[in-house]
Assembly symmetry: none
Homo-oligomer: 207 residues x 4
DNA sequence: AATGAATGAGGCTTCATTCAT
DNA sequence: CATGAATGAAGCCTCATTCAT
């Protein structure tokens, strides 16, 4: 039986083989993240993933024990990538500026790269426990980026909110659903829509 | 050929039989709306629907010509019910009061009755044309409730928005996703969450 | 249980009711013969038959115990009708003239009225015994029309054949398949095709 | 995605694997041709085909994307085989001799090897376009064998016909239906029947 | 006599999963 | 490592048949 080890991080990249394996896994996850992000869990078959990778379906099972596992790992990859891009935003400027930039970037990524990311978090309803935990943790890490800024703004008096939690939920919901209505727009109109969305969402913190 | 007639509205409930048929269809639609609302299109099989109704899959085809059609009709039922309840809200008070009430009621319905309605709007990327039209129209009718109020408020100077469209999208997204995070709360906490959500969302129109 | 009696002929048309029943049965058989003759056994559902009669599927079972039985009876009706029309041809003229007229009429009926009759004799391969017998007998009766003329012509020296049986088989095969290639033609071309077919087939008897 | 490639011809039997695949496909097609030839399209289920091959239904989909495609490919295999055998007949002798030999061989094949090929040409009223084209082409190639000879005979004055097309249709119809009435005969009687059939059909060209 | 409703078997198709090589 | 092949469960849909009314 093929050993299904660390799917995302590699603790002991001792040998050359290990490193190669890691690289291969990343390739797979990148492609899988793309596909799942585009179409959602149900609409992507392992054949789709395999074909885009130009390998056979069977090979995927050498690296991942099941579709669920592959998908979860892909979500992690996707989430890490996403979060990483958000973390690279410049840390200077007022809280208002920084939050707006964060929102803007988040929506841009959602609309351009992962239009169906929303689906991944809704279907199928119940992940098996270990995977649910991993997804939850991911979401938390991501949330904290926003939470940090909002709290900072509230503390400094720059923002005014009824409830930080509620604001975060609304932010998240609106940003994640954006691809659903921005997706059909042309390039120009889409850019403006994202701008307006960012402006509108800033009003949630009183800006 | 089994008559797949008016699935939602009944133009000619002439005979007793017709009425009975109508009632049966409503039963089915209610159950279907529940299931699809809970799990989304792909994750619900016709067997699931049939089983919950305690009939066989085949019977469903006596009333609906396909899964797509059943699901669309279920969505229509759900949407009509939902919209009807919103339309019954009192029409007096300031725009602010009325919008807040509308939001509050919408979220209450979402959280209590259709906790996963969101899924219904995400699922099969592309409905066949006739069904897409029906869903779009439904959504439009529902949207107009909110749009009317927002525009009224903007016209009267009571509201301030960057873009009416964008505000509506954010409202919708936030309200629809609410069950995802309110659902787990206890009765009391949930009530407060809904209140806070309504307050928070009012800030989208500058209130 | 409803009594499934004489499907085609009525032995005891004692009461008014009996006669009405007989008429209804004929209606059904006429329609069924049309449909089966057009599309073949498999491609016709009882719903199709019922719909064209403007009754429900269930009603058919009041008159016929199964699709097989209905289809066989329909074939009989079709065959009787067909044979009757051939028997009405004028009995004067030379054998050659009469055979040619017979062929011509047969093909005309095949092409215009029962384009898929061929299918009925091939699919599904094995009728249950009683029905097979009935169909065989029908075919026999029909065959004898041609056999009689051919033998007469041979006896009178007007025709020359290697084997009467073989000639009959070829005649039948060619006439029955005609709709397959004549069917697509326009009215005018079709008429000429039928004429040429009759001429060509006459050469099978040396004419 | 399982590769549904060249189903009949194999352009690049590069590796051993490819050849094995080709062999498997041929196995399937042979079996399918038998079954479809025996019972016709509708009366054969994929389960039937799979069972006769001692595999599961699903496996067939590894090689063919649909029942239609499988059936068309089977017809092609059958047709190619058939035509190839006819093309191997010696090309010397008078046109009369050659046409008679062709007819004789065709009927022999029909009776012995493809007793119910006829059904394949009757069944689903309408093939999807691409498949219809393939079948038409096959039929054309086969037809040309006969047409060539008939035209040659007509040109040389050896044959006399009303219409080449019509003669070809009659030839075809008679030869294809032959198994239906020759099939039941014993070996000896059958041989004579085939001889008589060939003689009789020659009279269609005035011989 | 006739209907509306329901059933259940069977058909086609997809797809996650397994496995020998 | 990777592949090609095969499997089996599950899904959608059709339709002959039954039955209470």
């Amino acid at each position: 039986m093929s050993a299904h080890q660390q799917t995302v991080d590699e603790k002991t990249p001792s040998s050359r083989v290990q490193r190669k394996r890691g690289r291969r896994i990343q390739e797979i996850l990148t492609v899988a993240a793309e596909l799942f992000g585009e179409r959602g869990y149900d609409a992507v078959s392992l054949d789709d993933v395999a074909e885009r990778l130009d390998v056979t379906k069977g090979s995927l099972y050498y690296y991942f024990p099941s579709k669920d596992e592959l998908c979860t790992a892909a979500i992690e990859t996707l989430g890490n990538d996403w979060t990483a891009r958000l973390e690279q935003l410049p840390a200077d400027g007022t809280v208002t500026e920084r939050l707006r930039a964060l929102i803007h970037e988040h929506v841009t990524i959602a609309v351009n790269d992962y239009p169906a990311a929303l689906r991944l978090f809704l279907v199928p309803r119940e992940w098996p426990e270990p995977q649910r935990a991993r997804i939850k943790e991911l979401r938390l890490r991501h949330d904290n980026l926003f939470r940090g800024l909002v709290e900072e703004g509230v503390a400094s008096g720059e923002f005014k909110v009824t409830s930080v939690d509620t604001v975060l939920q609304c932010l998240h919901a609106s940003m994640t659903q954006a691809p659903l209505w921005c997706g059909e727009l042309g390039v120009r109109a889409r850019k403006r829509a994202v701008d307006e969305l960012a402006d509108t969402l800033m009003s949630l913190v009183g800006r």
